[in-house]
């Protein structure tokens, strides 16, 4: 569902979907006396007709919330070969960064064993951002380290990719690093960054769109 939606409900007259309430109503038709109860049921019935969608109009697989609300960008080989990261940018300017499915870490036989946010000068999982103005948010460059992803044999540094204020890191990864395997593009996101408009424009030029990225990595 997007933040701006398409109406899938059908017109009142076209209701063809049977439902419990409708069946009940047919039975009630035999009793003509008006009561508060029946009026309420009638109103519910009217309401219900508004709610049921026209299935024919619905897509088999709808676009996901991420697909609809975010623009996807990719940074291939960021700072190091194999370091493929994604940047999902919301219409409000916030960027969700994480590991692209083609990241080298996923090719490691042992799988990802740990995620450590204590890199660089501070532990990224320790910071507390407060208030509408996002006080205490650290300002990072695009090459600042966010965390270290460890596999059996190796470790990889994940970086910001976007210059901006760090609003949040995905602390769940500390206890559940397997989230990176199950859904690196959703529950396994790494961090949320808020870039200034000017900074975004600068970095955007160096990022690839989904199409371009797919071509580059020869994905289907």
């Amino acid at each position: 569902m997007s933040d701006v939606m398409v109406d899938h409900t059908q017109k009142l007259e076209d209701t063809a979907v049977p439902n419990n309430l409708e069946q009940q109503d047919k039975q009630d038709e035999e009793q003509p006396q008006q009561s508060v109860q029946e009026n309420a049921e009638y109103e519910d019935e009217e309401l219900h007709k508004h709610l049921v969608p026209d299935i024919i109009q619905l897509p088999l697989i709808p676009p996901s919330a991420v697909e609809f609300n975010f623009a996807s960008y990719f940074a291939p080989d960021f700072m190091k070969p194999g370091n493929d990261q994604y940047v999902y940018r919301h219409a409000n300017g916030l960027c969700v960064v994480g590991l692209a499915s083609t990241h080298l870490a996923f090719k490691d036989k042992g799988g990802i064993t740990a995620v450590d946010f204590n890199v660089g000068k501070s532990d990224r999982s320790g910071m507390k951002v407060t208030g509408k103005r996002k006080k205490n948010a650290q300002h990072f460059e695009s090459n600042t380290a966010l965390c270290k992803v460890c596999t059996n044999g190796d470790s990889y540094i994940v970086r910001c990719c976007v210059k901006g204020s760090l609003l949040e890191v995905n602390e769940r990864l500390i206890k559940q690093p397997e989230l990176l395997h199950s859904s690196a593009d959703r529950e396994g996101y790494i961090a949320i960054i808020m870039p200034k408009p000017a900074d975004w424009l600068k970095v955007k030029a160096s990022l690839l769109s989904l199409e371009e990225f797919k071509k580059l990595r020869a994905l289907c």
């Binding site: 309401l47 969608p53 996901s64 409000n92 916030l94 989230l179 949320i192 808020m194």
Partner: protein
């Protein structure tokens, strides 16, 4: 209806009438009473302590102020048939006082009770009778086109006048300390400037407007201001302190008085008129008041409120006006549709829309509707019950069918409390169209319906994180029910009832796992929301 016609006729008649015929109309109404006020006035004046009247008149206090400060009975001097000059001559005649200097404006009330002021065009106005002021007000009310069934009269005067009065009163208390009338008149019966003016104008105003003065939402305000009132109050206060010290010393020793008086004169720039009789002197801060107050006549109605519940049938309409860079977002707004249809019927200046919560533009508001309050500023007319019903039908009958209204009615200021009532406990009911990444099983339907009063933890959704604080909010999902959709195994309707402030969209798709649990995590698959409708905002009082 007939009342309006009558008052219109009265107003029209008044417009052409001269002052004399005005007095005639007045006295005609109570012809036997016309004699009474004059006689009562004379009697009242004769009972005053003459020496005090003389003292006051000699320092430039106007006749009405003299009479009110000395607690003259029954506001005789407020009677509309008594003009300035008349009151003055009565006082002078009875007390044998002849004014030497020509005092322009009262040194206490600065001309307010002499019905003198500067209007908004800076013209000097000197009214003879309170009736004339009532006329100006009636004209203003008519010009603004107000429909009223009562009025509340307010007067605001510069603080400076109260300071004048207070200083004069304390001077009088000292000077006439031992006299018998002091206790009886001054201390208990002195009437304030505001009360005198209100009393004088209210009766003629009631006649002209053909309605009674009462606690009404329609306010008539006389706002007096004076140049002297701004700035210099610190200086004036310091001056007062000095004067008090000077007076005390003066009481004890006659010789000292002149010394003290000199001190005062040299330290203090303004002239002081001194009525010297060997006792402590009566003083007022300014003897020759050359400028009267500035008066603005205001009439307005305080906010009136209309309340009701609104429904939103469109997924392209925002609740309030939504404009970015001069471009309107969405097709229309609930606020504008409702406000623009009600404002003209009230002939108001402006409206403000308040609702009990809000929904996204792409979320419909169905079912019982969402309570709202529309505040109308300075309505010229309070709509009748019939008119309100007409407005409701009109909005519900609009061609584009974007918004609907229920239970529309005029409500008092208690509308606010009704809105705020139970806000925290408000429960909302929704219906969401959900898709999951695998077919729906009967177990799913069952397990969802068993979850009652489930607590969830929501981090501030990313879509609002740019303008809201990053917090983790605990919310309660009271109940949920899955309604299968025939012909689809992966789409279904989710009916749910949640605590106010719950982000439903995020509860369905999980928001990158930042809402825990979510429908997806409960069902162990990916879940997406395609549509959302609010089906009930539970609030009893609306």
């Amino acid at each position: 209806m007939s009342n309006e016609v009558e008052s219109a006729q009265v107003s029209d008649a008044m417009e052409v009438a001269q002052l004399s015929s005005l007095a005639a109309v007045d006295s005609h109404a109570g012809s036997c009473e016309a004699e009474m006020p004059s006689r009562l006035l004379n009697d009242a004046v004769r009972s005053l302590p003459y020496h005090v009247v003389k003292d006051l008149l000699s320092i430039g206090v106007c006749s009405r102020c003299v009479l009110r400060i000395l607690g003259t009975e029954d506001h005789i001097y407020c009677h509309s048939s008594f003009s300035q000059s008349m009151l003055c001559s009565v006082l002078e005649e009875v007390t044998g006082f002849k004014s030497e200097c020509d005092f322009q404006f009262c040194s206490v009330c600065l001309g307010v009770l002499q019905l003198s002021y500067r209007d908004d065009k800076e013209t000097l106005v000197k009214m003879e009778s309170p009736n004339d002021m009532a006329l100006v007000i009636a004209e203003l009310v008519k010009k603004e086109g107000h429909q009223i069934d009562g009025f509340s009269l307010e007067v605001s005067i510069p603080q400076f006048i109260l300071e004048n009065e207070s200083s004069l009163l304390s001077g009088m208390k000292k000077r006439y300390e031992s006299e018998p009338w002091l206790q009886e008149r001054l201390l208990s019966k002195c009437v304030s400037v505001k009360d005198v003016l209100k009393f004088a104008i209210t009766k003629p105003l009631e006649t002209l407007l053909d309605t009674k003065a009462s606690a009404s939402s329609f306010r008539i305000r006389l706002a007096y201001t004076h140049k002297m009132a701004f700035g210099n109050s610190v200086e004036r206060n310091q001056g007062f302190k000095r004067r008090k010290i000077g007076t005390e010393n003066g009481l004890q020793n006659v010789n000292d008085e002149s010394v003290v008086a000199n001190k005062d004169c040299s330290d203090y720039p303004t002239n002081e008129t001194i009525a010297v009789t060997g006792r402590s002197s009566l003083k007022v801060p300014i003897d020759k008041v050359s400028e009267p107050c500035h008066l603005v006549y205001l009439c307005y109605r305080t906010h009136i409120y209309l309340c009701g519940r609104y429904l939103k049938y469109s997924r392209n309409v925002s609740q309030t006006r939504w404009i970015i860079d001069e471009e309107r977002m969405g097709e229309a707004s609930v606020e504008e549709i409702i406000g623009s249809n009600i404002l003209p019927m009230c002939r108001g200046d402006n409206y403000k829309f308040h609702a009990a919560g809000r929904e996204d533009s792409d979320v419909r508001m169905l079912g019982s509707g969402r309570p709202f309050l529309l505040e109308i500023q300075n309505a010229r007319q309070v709509p009748s019950e019939e008119t309100v019903k007409e407005i409701e039908s009109k909005i519900n009958g609009l061609e584009n069918k974007l918004v609907g209204v229920k239970n529309l009615q005029v409500v008092g200021s208690q509308g606010w409390t009704l809105m705020r009532e139970g806000e925290a406990e408000k429960q909302k009911q929704y219906c969401a169209l959900v898709w999951i990444s695998r077919p729906l099983e009967d177990e799913d339907v069952c397990s969802i319906s068993l979850l009652n009063d489930m607590q969830i933890l929501q981090k501030t959704p990313i879509r609002v994180l740019h303008r809201r604080s990053p917090l983790e909010r605990k919310k309660i999902i009271y109940w949920m029910k899955i309604e299968r959709i025939a012909e689809s195994s992966q789409y279904f309707l989710l009916h749910l009832c949640t605590q106010a402030g719950t982000y439903i969209k995020e509860f369905v798709h999980g928001d990158f796992g930042r809402t825990q649990p979510s429908i997806g995590s409960i069902l162990g698959c990916r879940a997406e929301i395609l549509q959302l409708d609010v089906t009930d905002v539970k609030m009893d009082s609306f």
